[in-house]
Symmetry: C2
Subunit: 581 residues, 2 copies
Amino acid sequence: MKASQFLISTLKEAPADAEVVSHQLMTRAGMVKKLGAGIYSYMPMGLRVIHKVEAIVREEMNRAGSVELTMPVIQPAEFWQETGRFEKMGAELLRIKDRHDRDFVVQPTSEEVVTDIARQDFRSYKQLPKNLYQIQTKFRDERRPRFGLMRGREFIMKDAYSFDRDEAAAKTSYQVMAEAYRRIFDRFGLRYRAVAADSGAIGGDLSEEFQVIAATGEDAIVYCPESDYAANMEKAEALAPAGPRPGATNPMVKTPTPGKSTCADVAALLGVPLATTVKSLVLATDEFNEAGEIVKSQVWLLLLRGDHDMNEVKVAKVPGLNAGFRFATGAEIDAHFGCKPGYLGPIGLKKPLNLVVDRDVAVMADWICGANEADFHMTGVNWGRDLPEPALVADLRNVVEGDASPDGKGRLAIERGIEVGHVFYLGTKYSKAMNATFLGEDGKPAHFEMGCYGIGITRLPAAAIEQNHDERGIIWPDALAPFTVVVCPIGMDRSPEVKAAAERLYSELLAAGLDVILDDRGERPGAMFADWELIGVPHRVTIGDRGLAAGQVEYQHRRHTAATQVAVGEVVALLKGKLKT
Amino acid sequence: MKASQFLISTLKEAPADAEVVSHQLMTRAGMVKKLGAGIYSYMPMGLRVIHKVEAIVREEMNRAGSVELTMPVIQPAEFWQETGRFEKMGAELLRIKDRHDRDFVVQPTSEEVVTDIARQDFRSYKQLPKNLYQIQTKFRDERRPRFGLMRGREFIMKDAYSFDRDEAAAKTSYQVMAEAYRRIFDRFGLRYRAVAADSGAIGGDLSEEFQVIAATGEDAIVYCPESDYAANMEKAEALAPAGPRPGATNPMVKTPTPGKSTCADVAALLGVPLATTVKSLVLATDEFNEAGEIVKSQVWLLLLRGDHDMNEVKVAKVPGLNAGFRFATGAEIDAHFGCKPGYLGPIGLKKPLNLVVDRDVAVMADWICGANEADFHMTGVNWGRDLPEPALVADLRNVVEGDASPDGKGRLAIERGIEVGHVFYLGTKYSKAMNATFLGEDGKPAHFEMGCYGIGITRLPAAAIEQNHDERGIIWPDALAPFTVVVCPIGMDRSPEVKAAAERLYSELLAAGLDVILDDRGERPGAMFADWELIGVPHRVTIGDRGLAAGQVEYQHRRHTAATQVAVGEVVALLKGKLKT
């Protein structure tokens, strides 16, 4: 490609609404152009990156035996009503009425449509397993779209769906996809982690997120540097502390803590570590009659160490809380504790409630909690002595740096990531809702066991930039770069030698199969270099009069701070070598 | 590709709503699956064809200097309000409200968005010409979607837009695109014609349709077998008949024609050729005041030969009718003719009106027309003698087979076609509406001169099938086939020799770069052949025990009725030779 025949449109300044570096750089590099909130045109420079992402994904999906199709962007609502998602998905689902006033949606994913295809086309167990994927435009009407392609409303996603005859086969299909995803992310050339994720009500461990590591990532990733354990924060298990509970050494004392309603304030006042305090979280569960009216409510007290944070996903798995919970009302708290929040604790309750104790709290001795009286806490509290041994102990908290790894192989560390892929075992959720069955080997109809597998095609370039950039712009890995090599001639218009050498090198690089762009725009060197550093092309060859006279050109990698002199005759081989891997 | 790893889903019967052969065959061959009215999933077999179309289009667009981008499917209404198309486009434009009740449209094309990009990015004449294209999902909410992909609501279109500094440059850009389109359609391997089309109010001849020839086509294509003249019916000019008007030989007579209100009936009754009759068409034009109320109406009488059809596009260009016309009301007809339709004519009018005479009628002698009295016609009517010489003569009619070609090189013929491409010079229609300007060489802002260029990516396979099929199914040209070669082993499961030979040939064909599928499903020969004949793979190699024993396999082209025996060792070279061109 010659730059004069392409569209290069760089900006000095990022738009005011670009909050994250990837949005700023993609806009400045002319890769995207905003059309409306969360809606972008993929400009030629950006589309080349997207096409490279798509090509890698397509190759590896095909290699893994998935078959590509394209499902409609605009889908009749009737399929979404079959699974109830037409109502359940809320305002994120963009709904349309056509000229005949019929309901449609703009697809955010395609579980319903692909399940409809399966129930029509996959009639026998002999046709299974099957795996179908598409790379297609999606829409989610985010309340607050932002961060450019990171959280857009219109986006491109690769979504794949597997159909199997039973759970064992479905798990095999899942593993095939998980391996394909590793190959895909390896090929992208990004630092990433595949982390275990919560699989919700379905159970099992068949849910992994593929997270691109970036300090600016929205997600906390938990991993063990000494092993291959990795999970997202929702999923990562906090083990019970090793060893037995220490013995009680202090008496329980009602201690004045005037105005100190947080664990941190209490610990500071008393001059003790925060980890000796226990926080009380009060939840409630409701039972409903058939008319949807509340017929009974229960109150739950959760105890966590003062320096720990509650993990809602884990709490939602506690028996009794797993059908849904809410925070207790002021009236409920008053009825059970006779005290306002800030000074609550498990001792001296006015009414019995359900107590759930975090694993760490269960092995604490001489701890501190609210006294159920304003401005007082109890210190020196001990299980068995001051209150009964905990009956229900569970992992209720987010892990923290230094926690023992659940695989027993070391300590946990935490870093930030951007989720760009997800593999998920669905079970029969959709096949049962849509009565999608095949004829099993036993001659009886059975529901498909399904999995779903997504990659955020347009989110990936943004994540790649969050990970790979500097103050001058983007630094693409070779696999994703819009062009892998740029040839920059200096003074092409006044030096026929430079022009000829640049054109020759360009032709040779093209012939060698490299994805090269020749900057024949005639820009001054400063502006030209600034453009390519902003755009992030990884390999640059500069051709100037003086070097040419000595038979040399300059090679520089985008990550390097200085250029190397290379003999004109050797530069093609040099680049081929660098780009072979 | 191995068939067992692909998705082959053929049907014996076409769905009841499949009216045209391409819709029937694409559905039966498992290439598309209907999701709703005019909305289809492109199934794996069909998507391969679509991808081949896209690849050819992309290559040739790039070669012609057009640069690919992707504009959003969901577009804010504000851009469409700038050009007025948000209101003007009517019910075909699918409108959406998002969660914040803002208006959006699903793109049917992208003139507005691309013009917005141009006014932001193309600031100077130095950046011009520019040509941008996308291959992207579109939606038109057709009142009556039908014919499968031929007239779907959701479809994929390649739309390109050129931006130039002046009309001359725009015409050059147009020619570059028209040539690229010829290369594209040549590469598709279809019989097609590029036909001149009407360019509406803009004038000039810069509008061509690319029509795939098919007997079932919706459009009439006019061409001259002796020259390269070709136009669509709207555009094709009917020349004035050669030579002077014959002299009058008969007196004008009021002749009873009881109950004969059509030219055909009158000609039959009188035993004269239909071409001696003249039909009267009564139109009206209105003038409006600023409040949109009609302040004045005029009535127009158009005279055409009885065997000719009115061409609305031509009529709309007649001075006085070119601001819009309608058919006259019964009251208007009565006021001017004093007679009901069926017996109208230009002689003995009650009130003056505007008379427009078709070129053919202007040179007729002794003709027949209505007498403005029920059940009577005038015969032997002659210009100059019975009524004044016509003041306004124009081409008002559709051409017919045998008319003189407008290029003077022979006689016109007519065939049917399916429009799958269109190149069009837009002028400044959109750039003026959106005030999209660049800085000209003279330092003054100027509006972009634009062109637009479309190809119906998903319509093309349907058109190809309408042109290329037989009673057994589709016959793809090599360039569009989902696979170009199918290897069909007979009894693969019981003959290790057949299995080994099939696998080996498959590997060799893959290695030779051919797009081959191995049918390893284990189907019986009859069902297997029927599937591939329905799907339309052009080249088939059949491997059986008996042939193998003699070192031979069978080659058959989808168009041939019999197979050829080929030595096993020669079949790769044979296929490479056939697929080279």
